[in-house]
């Protein structure tokens, strides 16, 4: 039952000590593909997230927390809350959709990697070893969710890691920790009593782009099908000043 922060911390406390011990080891970076317990994760867990879209208020606290926690460079995002104005029968409302790496069961970003820099840990978290990555950006192309980007400080592929360093220390990912509405729920799918396992089992959550066959492990409650794939709408209102926005009726 790791829905609350405290229970999660208590439950994962035991692994924390081990994780801290292993953390003292130097990163097994020099040889691409080298393995170590810290790199591979614990197969006893399968980390996942459930996003309750109805609870998201679009405050972007998760976006900011992620940037601060992971030192994400300017103009780059590991997570963001896509925000839409939806007009139906003349009535306008907002729709918020937090986006992040889906830590897919069958991640298309991994087989394309020519160096093995990106890999899936045994606990399901997809990570990039940025000491091995050559920055070819093939994984950026292969991700159907636009979740990857080139970090221009490291010049390597970058993405959400479910805050793997925090999870190993028994903490929640920064975005979950900071979510004011409790819209992001993180936990272990292998634990049948966990909040995520219960929600996935009982609430029939949706995933983004199911037709891609990637089997995402980020699930959505209350996901409007119009936002499940590429959104059919007017792109962001912001435009460079040289390109005035053509559709003025929303003003």
């Amino acid at each position: 039952m790791d829905r609350s922060r405290r229970n999660f911390c208590l439950g994962a406390g035991a692994t924390t000590i081990g994780a801290v011990t292993v953390a003292a080891m130097p990163a097994a970076a020099a040889a691409p593909g080298a393995a170590s317990p810290r790199r591979d994760g614990d197969p006893a867990h399968r980390w996942a997230m459930v996003v309750d879209v109805g609870k998201c208020v679009g405050c972007q606290a998760c976006t900011v927390a992620c940037i601060m926690e992971n030192d994400v460079p300017e103009n780059s995002f590991r997570t963001i809350v896509s925000t839409y104005e939806v007009t139906e029968q003349g009535k306008a409302g907002s729709y918020m959709l937090p986006r992040l790496c889906n830590h897919c069961e069958d991640p298309p970003c991994i087989p394309v990697c020519p160096t093995g820099a990106t890999f899936q840990r045994r606990d399901g978290i997809v990570v990039v070893d940025n000491t091995v990555c050559v920055g070819c950006a093939y994984c950026v192309q292969a991700c159907p969710y636009d979740a990857r980007f080139i970090n221009h400080e490291t010049q390597t592929a970058d993405k959400c890691t479910f805050c793997v360093h925090r999870v190993e220390a028994g903490l929640l990912p920064a975005c979950v920790e900071t979510c004011v509405g409790g819209a992001r729920i993180f936990g272990d799918l292998n634990d049948p009593h966990s909040a995520v396992a219960t929600l996935v089992r009982e609430e029939n959550p949706k995933v983004l782009k199911p037709e891609q066959g990637t089997q995402p492990r980020v699930f959505y409650l209350g996901l409007d099908p119009r936002f499940q794939g590429k959104v059919d709408g007017t792109p962001t209102l912001w435009r460079p000043t040289s390109q005035p926005h053509s559709q003025k009726e929303h003003a």
Binding site: A31, S82, R99, V112, P114, T115, G135, C143, D146, T234
Partner: protein
Amino acid sequence: MDNHIVEVINVTREVAWLPWAVQYFFLIGLSVGGLLLSLPGYAFARADWRALGRIALLVALTCGLAAPVALLSDLHQPGRFWHFYVVLRPTSWMWWGSIFIPLYVTVLLVYGWACFREELQAHGRVDSRLAALYRLASLGGGRNDALIRAAGLFALAGALLVALYTGAEVAVVKARPLWHTPFLPVQFLLTALAGAAGLVLLLNRFAAGNDRAVEVRANRLLAGVLGGVMLVGALWLALGLFGLDATHAEALGSVAGSEAWRVTAVWAVAATALPFAIAVAKPAGTGLLTGLIALHGAWMFRWTVFIGGQTVPKTGAGFYDYALPAGPEGLLGIVGTAGLWLFLLIALTAILPSPRRPAPAPARAPRAPAGPVAAAE
């Protein structure tokens, strides 16, 4: 109906495969195309194809040597290229590419040397300070058709592997419907052949003595290849338009609503149909025009696939904006690669200048003295 969605906040993902990648796919395609066009004249020793084959070989060598530099530059960590070679990653077409490219370039160089050996030997016989170097480069031998054929067949195998991997590498990306089509590798190969024929026409004009027979032959070849390009393009469009294939319908659907993409489509059709019509109607005297358009078409195709393809958001609404940066990640990369290619062309044609054509020489010989005679009269 007043139902619509406006995206208020979202991330814009910048292009991750830069114009360097466009240059790489363009140059390696031209090299493969050039190699294929050189084979009849050299590997299969067809005398009537020899002159065209020599220019095609220049295309294959200069583009084949410049291409890997562009590819290396597209890596954001180029100094780590050796990471490709210390792992086994057979699931990645890019990893296969890292094996195929050096293989191809090596056999291409051997094939090029075998083809030019006869010329190296001839230069070695001339009384000059460099003669010894030429003799050394020819390794004391001359034309050896068996060697040329063997090297040519190996180079052909390498070229086919490169064509396979470059096409498959992009076509397997399911996340981009525009790329994820089995037609793409065929389109890459055909437009590469058209571009190579175009460059043969240009080099024939500017770097190889403007041979009329070569021009006519290359223009006819170009027309044939462009016919193929139009056929495959029409098939792709038909599969998408009539919804016969979900992938193609999705690919078409992802760009059909955009004015810019419609203009690009008209442009592409014009850049294919126009040189096709000119090359069919008047294969002589039009090589410069058809060659330029064909070369531009091959480049445009890659620019549209790579840069255009990356401006289609995978989740966001509409399209991402792209403005060509002036620095190394944009214009400078394009100009720099073009400059490297030009340097290689100048170097190669300086070492191996175009041989004087024997055929027109006797025809002109009587005319040459006729001038002063006429003047004297």
